[in-house]
């Protein structure tokens, strides 16, 4: 029998629809990290991200019959995640400002990051960390829609077309939002250049 880890998303979806809910747990395992990156970079809060992830997977599980396979399962999940997150951010609005102390970025402890920055001197490394912190702060100043495209394009490496599908907007809109968001981030980080 084929190992569960080797099954494609489509096969796992079919198994779930066939009455095997454990197959969906495999899908949860496969997509959690990526969705975490998406939601966390938009909410900047670990607890909110964990709650939203549960909502996303619950919604996906209950709506699985509506997944027609026109797009990949990953894109479909991203669509649910983005909608849930944007709605959440609208509800949260300004009544709860996220402070930087709440932003628990995990990048400092990432071995890849240390490897990348160790080529430089310690002061350079400290400067890069400081810049990351400022970047997080600048990201929070973007509107949720702009943060979404930046997260998907620059951080998750998704293509314009896929982002357009997820957000249900044109590719032109995605490009223009990206342009505006980059410009805004540049301006916000201008004062921290060496």
């Amino acid at each position: 029998m084929q190992d569960a880890n080797e099954l494609t998303d489509q096969q796992l979806v079919e198994q779930t629809l066939g009455g095997n809910p454990e197959a969906f747990e495999q899908l949860v395992r496969k997509h959690t990290n990526r969705l975490y990156g998406l939601i966390y970079n938009m909410t900047a809060n670990h607890e909110d991200t964990a709650d939203l992830l549960q909502e996303v997977f619950a919604k996906a599980y209950h709506s699985l019959r509506t997944f027609r396979g026109d797009s990949s399962f990953s894109t479909w999940l991203h669509t649910i995640a983005i909608n849930k997150t944007l709605n959440f951010l609208k509800r949260r609005g300004r009544r709860q400002q996220v402070s930087l102390s709440e932003m628990n970025s995990g990048v400092e402890s990432d071995p890849e990051f240390i490897k990348v920055s160790s080529k430089d001197n310690p002061s350079r490394q400290a400067y890069l960390k400081e810049l990351q912190k400022k970047l997080n702060e600048a990201m929070l100043k973007l509107s949720p829609e702009h943060r979404a495209v930046v997260t998907m394009f620059d951080i998750q490496g998704m293509q314009h077309a896929e982002i357009a599908k997820v957000l249900r907007v044109s590719e032109g809109t995605v490009r223009s939002r990206l342009f505006y968001a980059h410009r805004q981030l540049q301006n916000l980080l201008k004062e921290y250049r060496p």
Partner: protein
């Protein structure tokens, strides 16, 4: 290693203009959830799925779907107010529908002992379903004052006529003589 990752490594040597932002953003893709997070998500998902299987109804799924769609449409709050107002109007109209019927019935019953005065008889004979049985309806304009403090109201009511004589009986209350054939 992807080109972008190589660019990140090279990029740490010097920070430029727009590239700075892109490199910094690309570094964020190394961010990972805390260790054991994936397992905890799966366990929590399973727990919720078990719990939901007991109480979650189709109605709730439909409602959540509707709320989400509405939120996605970004409808201005005033539209909700307008919809609620329209709903109230519709509810009033539906409730009054019955009352309208009762009022008409009441007018006929009140008119029966002739409290109202016929001020205009248009002579217009309106065909009724019972025409074949010798029943017609005649349009009359009546003056009646349901309350003394109110001015006289003019209403047009339907009265059934047999031949040339108007009668006030609703169809169901026709005298037995009209319902049965003469026995001789």
């Amino acid at each position: 290693m992807s080109k972008q990752e190589e660019r990140i490594k090279e990029g740490t040597q010097g920070i430029g203009e727009e590239e700075d932002v892109l490199r910094l953003l690309a570094l964020k893709r190394y961010e990972q959830p805390p260790e054991g997070f994936v397992d905890s998500v799966v366990v929590e998902f399973r727990r919720r799925r078990m719990a939901e299987a007991i109480w979650r109804s189709r109605w709730r799924i439909w409602w959540e779907e509707l709320v989400e769609r509405m939120e996605r449409l970004q409808i201005p709050p005033i539209a909700y107010g307008a919809t609620a107002f329209a709903g109230v109007i519709c509810a009033i109209a539906i409730l009054n529908w019955d009352e309208v019927g009762q009022t008409r019935e009441r007018v006929v019953q009140v008119a029966n002992p002739a409290p109202a005065q016929v001020v205009q008889n248009t002579g217009e004979v309106i065909q009724s379903r019972e025409q074949g049985e010798g029943m017609d309806a005649l349009r009359l304009t009546l003056h009646q004052s349901p309350m003394e403090i109110l001015p006289t109201m003019t209403r047009t009511v339907m009265r059934r006529v047999v031949g040339t004589m108007p009668v006030s009986y609703p169809l169901g209350n026709l005298p037995p003589a009209r319902e049965e054939d003469w026995g001789f």
